[in-house]
């Protein structure tokens, strides 16, 4: 179990699922980054690990059907706002296997 320790000032903490991290050598389960919307979180992740956006989002664009994103415990979409200190949980849905 990874912990959502308090992030640096102005940053959100993003927790990534193991099946995603395994696809990107060097990727980490816990990431701190600055973002004001979920879409900016995805952009920041893709900048660190090129190709990660394609794994999380489709071309509509929207979060993939079997990927769930929660911001501070609430189901989110790409437009959901992120406040400093927020916890963004990206998980693989149980339906995806």
């Amino acid at each position: 179990m990874i912990e959502a320790a308090k992030p640096a000032a102005g940053h959100a903490v993003v927790l990534l699922p193991p099946a995603l991290v395994n696809l990107f050598p060097g990727a980490e389960r816990r990431v701190e980054l600055a973002a004001s919307r979920v879409d900016e979180v995805i952009t920041a992740l893709d900048a660190r690990w090129p190709g990660m956006r394609d794994r999380l989002c489709d071309s509509r664009p929207s979060i993939r059907r079997h990927i769930n994103v929660f911001v501070d415990g609430e189901r989110a979409n790409l437009d959901t706002a992120i406040s400093a200190g927020a916890e963004v949980f990206i998980i693989t849905a149980i339906s995806g296997g």
């Binding site: 995603l20 696809l23 489709d58 071309s59 509509r60 993939r64 079997h66 995806g96 296997g97």
Partner: protein
């Protein structure tokens, strides 16, 4: 060091690679690769030695995987592998084909919903050859049982501008200008599922597998949902060659590496009869005369209670002499013949459902 034969196997839970020396009498298996993603097609590019695996994962979408060290390490990419935002997103990659003169860098990918992509950098990035989906027939393409998939890719062996594709259930299409414009090539193939007076349409046939013959670029064979066919004019016209087969229904077809008249099929008992081996006895059917006559090859194959099928990309030949022939079943068994189909051995079993089999001799 002598040559090695690799069997590249796609399954519902990852890719596998079997290897043997050229005697093909003993095989070792490695896998599953590709993080156990559903993999529809695994191909080797003899020009570069790279192996590519096409698939898609319900969580993470479509991608093409690649290894340049025969499976020890893999990367994946779907950069550029997408449609415009207003269109249904791509679900999976279904088929791959290295270009005949691609110098190890160019390959094609067929996807679901049906469309065609090309990479010129060894699978690192892709671009859409949109001319196919711009064809006026596209709004009328209907999905087959596996969805609306582009599962067949046949690059012309000499003319890099020519390519045939097979789409279920839109039929065979051909381009002579590198993918900008396309024409349907289905004349003579049936659509038994249509009303009686519409059974030979210009497009809409349910092609199951499309292959070309060695040394005869304009000879094509296709196993169709409704019949087995040969064309000797690049698909402009098709002739039924199903007389002598136990069924007109089946999925894969594999051509001999040197003899354009020799073809292998696995007819199944029928589309509404269970889609397993006829009489529940396993057989590969071979023609040596371009489809005029057929023989059942059964030695070493189980002859009772066989209720498996073989999917459209799950049979292949190798380039050795005598040629090896291979097929994988929906029940996860892999059979090999090192003598052009005369005798068979089961070289792997209990695998996930096998979606594809290809060979690479290195």
């Amino acid at each position: 060091m002598g040559e090695k034969v690799l069997l590249l196997v796609g399954t519902k839970k990852g890719a596998f690679i079997l290897s043997s020396d050229t005697s093909r009498s003993s095989w070792s298996l490695r896998g599953p690769f590709c993080d156990t993603w559903p993999i529809n097609h695994v191909v080797g590019d003899s020009a570069s030695g790279a192996i590519y695996a096409a698939g898609g994962n319900e969580w993470f979408g479509p991608a093409v995987w690649k290894t340049t060290d025969f499976g020890e390490s893999w990367t994946h990419s779907s950069e550029g592998l997408s449609y415009p935002p207003e269109e249904e997103p791509i679900k999976m990659v279904w088929s791959l084909a290295p270009a005949a003169r691609g110098a190890g860098k160019t390959l094609y990918a067929g996807v679901q919903p049906a469309g065609l992509f090309r990479s010129d950098d060894g699978g690192a990035s892709w671009h859409h050859l949109s001319g196919l989906r711009d064809h006026p027939s596209r709004p009328e393409w209907q999905p087959g049982g596996a969805g609306l998939i582009l599962h067949g890719l046949v690059p012309h062996p000499e003319d890099e501008k020519q390519l045939w594709v097979a789409i279920s259930a839109a039929g065979v299409f051909h381009t002579a200008d590198g993918g900008e414009t396309w024409e349907p090539r289905n004349r003579g193939t049936r659509a038994d599922f249509n009303p009686e007076d519409q059974r030979y349409p210009e497009f809409g046939q349910c092609v199951h597998c499309l292959v070309t013959a060695p040394g005869m670029p304009d000879r094509l064979y296709q196993q169709n949902h409704c019949g087995m066919y040969r064309s000797d004019d690049g698909g402009r016209g098709w002739e039924s060659i199903e007389a002598g087969l136990p069924s007109s229904f089946g999925f894969p077809a594999a051509v001999h590496p040197r003899d354009p008249d020799t073809l292998y099929l696995v007819p199944l008992n029928g589309d509404i009869a269970g889609r397993y081996m006829p009489e529940a006895r396993a057989a590969v059917w071979r023609t040596r005369d371009g489809g005029r006559s057929w023989d059942a090859l059964r030695r070493g194959l189980p002859q009772q209670n066989v209720f498996y099928g073989v999917l459209r990309q799950a049979m292949a030949t190798d380039r050795l002499d005598p040629a090896g022939v291979y097929f994988g079943t929906g029940s996860g068994s892999l059979y090999a013949s090192a003598d052009e189909g005369e005798s068979w051995t089961c070289v792997a079993e209990h695998l996930p459902t096998i979606t594809s089999v290809e060979t690479l001799v290195i």
